[in-house]
Symmetry: C3
Subunit: 189 residues, 3 copies
């Protein structure tokens, strides 16, 4: 094993390649500054102001998308939000890849949508991205983790504290780590 050690040197772990970033590095730094001041310090009720700031940095954000001031966004230009979504406190939108959020989606507080990982089989430790898609009417309950490349079907409910590592089908209640569909959303009615 020791003789293989060099393979574990992560030569390229220290910065995202420019082609993933999609903007010059200074734009990212500027966004971080805006996020920690104008965005994060805005009073809770100023949802329109935060939509404006995100759009200024290239996000597509539909009408009545409500985003709390404590939400954090890696690259706003990778957000594609439809209408009437609600993004709760301390949600992390780690949008190295694209994050698509449908109509009437609710993402509850502390959830974490993560679009990037690393190729640990290579010394270059390449950053790999996988777009995330949340279907219309889905609800991610609190402290849900969504892994890179995952699609969550329309109307899905993901239980609190679940970790979603694979696609979830439409209209199901899903939970656990890794999350699995457990019953239809309509079954209890």
């Amino acid at each position: 094993m020791a003789s293989n050690f060099n393979q574990y040197q992560h030569l390229d772990a220290f910065s995202f390649p420019a082609h993933l970033r999609g903007r010059p590095a200074w734009v990212v730094q500027l966004w971080l500054l805006v996020q920690s001041t104008l965005f994060a310090l805005s009073p809770r009720f100023m949802y329109g102001w935060r939509r404006f700031l995100l759009r200024l940095f290239g996000a597509k954000v539909g009408n009545k998308v409500l985003i709390r001031p404590s939400v954090r966004v890696a690259y706003p230009w990778h957000l594609i939000f439809s209408e009437h979504a609600w993004i709760g406190d301390d949600v992390e939108l780690y949008s190295i890849g694209n994050i698509r959020v449908g109509d009437h989606v609710v993402v509850s507080q502390r959830s974490y949508l993560c679009t990037a990982t690393h190729d640990y089989t290579k010394r270059s430790f390449d950053t790999m991205v996988g777009d995330i898609e949340i279907g219309d009417g889905a609800w991610l309950a609190t402290d849900v983790f969504v892994a890179p490349g995952v699609k969550i079907g329309r109307g899905c409910v993901i239980g609190a504290r679940s970790s979603v590592f694979s696609d979830m089908p439409e209209g199901m209640i899903c939970m656990g780590s890794p999350a699995k569909p457990v019953r239809s959303r309509n079954s209890g009615k």
Copy 2:
């Protein structure tokens, strides 16, 4: 499924009904301001000052309850703390419903007591609350999640990173997600 889509429109996800809030909206905004300044920026050792601020907003907080400045409270007027409790860094007291904490309780850093959920079977997506109760002498280790409506018995120990979705009996060591009692707290003595 597509024909059922309308059922997934969360018409009412955007604000807590006034009857849950129990105070005018401006009081919540004022508390948020106080929390992010006078409370959060106070030096660690000023435990009395933070008790004072919480009481000012209606919390019942007994003697020698020690609360770190990074703790966050949704509605202080829904906290009912006995004496000698310890609430660690970055604990979230999401007190849309009541949170009752007994004597000599220890809630370690990053734990998250969540009293609210949604009725996902209704288009109105009603917010539902469930009071949380932590019995005397219990210890919630780090990064524990407690779901709405859960009662944790006296003297219980909840293991690190556990998620508690159901009531836990007295004097037991409990762990996992969902947390289950695994042995008596006294068994190892």
Copy 3:
């Protein structure tokens, strides 16, 4: 059970004994102030500045260790970092005990290395520490928890959201809560 209640009084839960802290209490308060200002507010690219601050407070930090401004450290004088490590956003280094991090280690965002626990079998609720060691070339993916006393072998990969409660062997992919080794890191090549 009720008659045993006194055993659950955590008489000593309120402060870390001086011998664990290893520095006067005012040094800890000063570090907290520095961390929340000079460290946390520094622009992302000022990695050298943050290494300087940590060394000023006694950390051993090798060349090209890259630490994000949102990383939090309990006691910097308990960090022993080799070279070329990368510590991502919002990582918590709860270094009541020592944290040793090898060459080319990557600790992804939101991970949490926790070196302290309590002896819940005693009324004194003694704080107990266990040093953490992360071997060369290991990668802790995002939101990984590492419990007190755990050693993670060289070249290990710990999957996202895992909780590590026991030592992990060299060169393995490990995941889950509690984390278990599931296959060799080289098996897929």
